[in-house]
């Protein structure tokens, strides 16, 4: 019985391809390609094309942006929760950051800084950071004061307090920020590449769009989504399980 959810998930996944395949046979149009055509194109881009290079470029941009946003967002979120005056001052900045459209931000940065990596990464970081700030600020506000009493009575060092008392309480908020961040960042990186870079998956999709090459667009998309699913299942979920194993 335990394998039933797995069977259902796999059936759901394959049903998408079956429906897609049947629709492609029914519609029979060059712009509605079959999954078989896409797989053939995927093989071509993997072996003879630039799919691996483009993926690495996009992942590098997403990765750098992700770590900067998580690092700065966590520090700022913690500081805002700890220092009320700082929070009163910067709260409206956070709200603006949460609501400013990603597209506006990247266009401004491309104009101000130029069509380069710095502009792209800065725009992605500023898009993602407010979400991390809000999460960590909330998590820090909910830190249990009783554990700090234990730390004080038994004279635990600041390092021990951070590692054993503060971070374990912030893990759920860090993990939520990381998971939502990952899904947000890779999508906006693609859009930003399409708008102003000469490499990466977003740029390649723009080229395929110019030629109405729907098969290659889908091949690139499927490959990149697979990579993100691998990161989610083999990195993010194990980290989450490890951080919250004591709850089981």
């Amino acid at each position: 019985m335990q394998s039933l959810p797995t069977i259902l998930r796999l059936s759901s996944f394959f049903s998408i391809f079956i429906i897609w395949f049947l629709l492609s046979l029914t519609i029979d149009h060059r712009l509605f390609v079959s999954p078989v055509d896409v797989l053939i194109d995927l093989k071509y881009h993997l072996i003879e094309g630039d799919l691996i290079d483009d993926t690495l470029i996009t992942l590098t941009r997403a990765g750098i942006s992700f770590f900067i946003a998580m690092f700065l967002g966590s520090i700022i979120g913690y500081a805002l929760a700890r220092f009320k005056k700082l929070n009163y001052f910067f709260d409206s900045w956070v709200i603006i950051g949460l609501n400013i459209p990603a597209l506006v931000l990247v266009i401004i940065f491309y104009i101000w800084i130029g069509l380069n990596e710095l502009a792209l990464i800065s725009a992605v970081v500023l898009n993602k950071m407010p979400i991390v700030i809000v999460n960590i600020r909330e998590g820090t506000r909910l830190l249990d004061k009783n554990y700090f009493h234990v730390a004080k009575v038994y004279q635990l060092s600041n390092f021990t307090v951070w590692i054993k008392i503060i971070l374990p309480q912030l893990y759920p908020y860090l993990i939520t920020s990381a998971r939502t961040g990952l899904s947000l960042i890779w999508k906006i990186v693609l859009v930003f590449e399409l708008l102003g870079r000469g490499s990466g998956i977003g740029f390649q999709i723009q080229v395929f769009f110019a030629f109405f090459d729907i098969s290659s667009i889908l091949a690139y998309s499927i490959f990149f989504i697979s990579i993100i699913l691998i990161i989610e299942n083999f990195i993010m979920i194990p980290i989450e399980n490890r951080a919250t194993h004591w709850r089981k």
Binding site: N146, Y147, H149, V150, K152, V153, Y154, K164, I165, W246
Partner: protein, 252 residues
Amino acid sequence: MIDIKISNLNKSFLKSNSANKFEKNILQILKNFNLDIKHNEVLSIIGPSGTGKTTLLNILSGFDPHFTGNIEINREISGKKISFIFQPHNLLPWLTAHENVKLVSSQESLQQNRAYKILSELGLKDFINSYPNNLSGGMRRRVSIARAFVNNPSILLMDEPFVSLEKPLANQLRDLTISLIRKYKVTTLLVTHDLREAIMLSDRIIFCTESPMNIVLDKKIEISKPAKYESDEVENLYKEIMNLYPDILSAK
């Protein structure tokens, strides 16, 4: 010999005015409060809620540094550790029983593997790798007692440690705690609302009024030790105190 000497201790809080939320009143919890606790003495403080008993423990434990007055700890023991048994067990849920006790262990305790030894002594040998969520209420309380004794403390502070526990379990843990207090010769300050508990555990009880906290009765407890919570001796002394001072538990 005096282990803890509290002189002219003052502590106040800012309290919101219910009529005008922008106006704050100063609430004086402790005003020129004085108390001596003798070496190896078990002293209980009894008083109504909000008296300032927990505030006093927080000041003594170093958690609340905002006070005026003087607290002197006996020089012979001042280098040693103060321990605290909290009202909630305050075990870190992401650490095992063993890790919780090890976390507060001194270098000396770590070298002697005292965390393991004291957990075993308290009957938790088979549960040292269990997380608090997987332990019963009594086991969690025993881990917190083990944590309090792991560094062989000189001073133990207890803030209503057995409240909200079922009677048989509370009695069992009282017996266990007092046996450890006697074994390790720990000067102890207990805050409680339970007069029978105070009689059973203490050498002396002080009864306090609220805001500011004032000692209205300082009573030496002279019964045979170790005493049982439900023994006739405890019950008789309880009745004697209540007959002599019927309003003592709600002193204003």
